[in-house]
Symmetry: C2
Subunit: 433 residues, 2 copies
């Protein structure tokens, strides 16, 4: 899929550049393709539209930010975003059964596949959070304004600019507002898109537009597995029933063994216990104790290795406790419940999607950086579908994501330049004509 994308986009762009429709490229010229796009009257018209629309991008970003969208409660914001997409020109914008908003913009040489350009609808903030946007000069403060609400507004700006400039792309573009990108959402939106949605086998490339500098290319998806491990036993009075198995001892043993796992620094793999709980009174042998465990890795096999070890450790800890103390009233049992599953993956740094992004970023005068993160792109990366997460902001124009004092700077010139540059990446990959 990756190589098919590269050949087709390159062949098309070279064909246009040399006016030789039948010629096939021998090698890609990413910078050349991007330069051609940037120099085109259509892209210039689109860029001018973004410049004119700057105030509207900000206003729509504020409007969406002020509609709370906690994990699993994105519905109201989704409906508003759907309306906005329709107003921007994509009349068929719909909401799928999982809650994702999606709208197709047809290409000229569609091969039945689509390039997804997405941002996520949800924020990390619970329902009661004050999401009113506060403005201080060019700085806007509000939970979720950067991550990722302003990106939804930028998607709308892309659509309006493309419509205004009558831009044609080779590929069909599926604009998507996803649900469930943040923590507990566990990528449910993008997972649906790739495993159940109407386009599930038709996605040839994937962009997640995120907060952060347009210079940053995330082409690695850190995978994670999260478990809630619960040890249960018969319980009893701390004095009268002393000698019975105690789930806290099994949990302690499991935590200790878990803490001894050795992991490599590269590819980076991590593990930890984030939350523990259980028991009701100090003078009882509790009936249960639990821990929530987080494991992450840049490597699929390394993540599997740590996960397998955890699952073995917790079984051994239960067995060890059943051996150490009396089971006459019942045994310690253990349940390891998967509560988070973000697949790991990466997109080759030499792939077209990364190389076009690099070329467009450099053409915009930025210095590209590459990184790993955990975003909607994890899902296609894991499936081997070319995917990157890119920023749509000027460098250092936002911060404090996932905190109540999250902010972004909406100063016009750097913001418009960043948005325009991010659009040029999408245009290069989708084969702007």
């Amino acid at each position: 899929m990756l190589s098919a994308l590269r050949l087709s986009s390159v062949s098309l762009s070279l064909a246009l550049a040399f006016g030789a429709s039948g010629a096939f490229a021998q090698s890609a010229n990413y910078a050349g393709d991007v330069g051609r796009i940037l120099a085109s009257p259509a892209f210039k018209a689109a860029a001018a539209e973004i410049d004119r629309e700057h105030g509207r991008i900000v206003d729509e970003g504020i409007k969406l930010t002020e509609i709370p969208a906690p994990p699993f409660k994105e519905e109201v914001r989704a409906k508003e975003f759907q309306k906005m997409l329709q107003a921007a020109g994509l009349k068929d914008a719909q909401i799928d059964p999982e809650g994702n908003v999606f709208a197709l913009r047809k290409g000229t040489h569609g091969d039945g596949k689509v390039v997804v350009v997405s941002a996520h609808l949800d924020t990390v903030f619970p329902a009661a959070t004050d999401v009113k946007v506060k403005r201080q000069g060019n700085k806007l403060y509000a939970p979720g304004i950067g991550d990722d609400t302003m990106s939804l507004s930028v998607l709308l700006a892309y659509v309006r600019a493309m419509q205004a400039a009558n831009i044609k792309t080779r590929d069909d573009i599926l604009f998507v507002g996803t649900v469930g990108e943040e923590g507990p959402g566990d990528l449910r939106g993008v997972r649906y898109l790739f495993t159940k949605g109407a386009y599930k086998d038709k996605i040839k490339a994937f962009f997640s537009i995120e907060a952060g500098s347009v210079a940053g290319i995330t082409n690695g998806g850190v995978g994670s597995k999260r478990y809630r491990v619960t040890f249960s036993g018969p319980g009893g009075h701390s004095f009268g029933a002393f000698g019975l198995v105690n789930p806290m001892f099994a949990l302690g043993q499991a935590a200790t063994e878990f803490s001894r796992i050795q992991v490599a620094a590269h590819p980076k793999t991590t593990y930890g216990i984030g939350v523990i709980g259980g028991g009701t009174s100090v003078n009882s042998i509790p009936v249960s104790g639990w821990m929530e465990v987080d494991m992450r890795s840049e490597s699929v096999p390394d993540l599997k290795r740590v996960e397998d070890r955890l699952l073995k450790i917790v079984q051994e800890a239960a067995e060890g406790e059943n051996f150490a103390r009396s089971t006459k009233e019942g045994k310690i049992t253990v349940e390891a419940k998967l509560i988070g599953d973000r697949p790991a993956g990466s997109t080759d740094a030499n792939s077209d999607i990364v190389q076009y992004a690099k070329a467009a970023i450099e053409a915009g005068g930025y210095k590209p950086t590459y990184g790993w993160s955990s975003t909607d792109s994890n899902m296609p990366m894991n499936l081997g579908i070319p995917a990157i997460t890119i920023g749509r902001g000027a460098p250092d124009a936002g911060g404090r994501g996932h905190s109540l004092d999250e902010w972004m700077d909406v100063t016009k010139e750097p913001m418009v330049k960043a948005v325009t540059t991010s659009l040029s990446i999408v245009m290069a990959v989708t084969g702007m004509e």
Copy 2:
């Protein structure tokens, strides 16, 4: 104090029995003393009064049960009990600064010391618990009705019976309703009585009247120490800050080492972790994790041994974690906070107070049993003051203490007999004339 009590009561009873006021006993005749008391017109009058008052005992027990008295919130019930004591004839009933209700009934040969006859005012149930008493035939259901509210009502019956029969005792009797006997109260009422109260150095013997069969003598006080152990560290992002010390790993290590302590079966010693908690999100290295630990023993030195080991273990666990992972953002520290401290102790089975109880129980036609528990008597036992906890109920006439379906059977004949028998124990020890 113990031997003084034995000699004086025995010499007095023998003097009465043989009509020889100057004679000194060479050995105690517990059964004889009890028999003499039971046969006396005064005790018979008191027993008849208890029989007549049965309905009132039950009614006052219900009235007190329906006044909630959670730990640290015994005040309303205490005031009502104070009034009831005054109405029963002890006009000087007072409430001490800790919240205990107390009233002195003077003896005839007071030596400046007192024998305490107590029951506890508090229950284990939180403020919102429905404490309305439900009646099914002779069974009353309500949280706290048995443990220990009906015992307060029985104290009132003792007083009324003694007043009605004009009973004289050698010793001054201090009737007390204590606060803080249950869990979190940590014996604060009885502790105050023995360490700060007006009678703190004047208590020569101690009774705690409790739920349970009058046949059961609790002459052993299981000591307990409870700690809340909190491991704290710098915290951080589970992926980004991986490698930093994690308080949950220190806690796990401490739990594991704690679980390995070997204890003797006799004297019985126990330990356990009852409750754990800490952390806020699965994807963070938490800033703290805690566990609540319970240790108990029938032996003062054995309890100390386990306590010392715990305190060493938690320090070692913190140090171990600081050695295993990076402390560049801060170290794991540990705080072990004492949240419960019930002293251990016991009253010799051959002591007067136990032997009089045995004799009175046998005279009542019951078969005495001996046991260990954790009650208000722990405090005097630990101080070497003769103390026992006795029941005031018929065998199998109550149950489900500390549960919402706690019950007691108030059928008249067995209840009156049990109350009368418990009074006879008190009369024997306080030297009824």
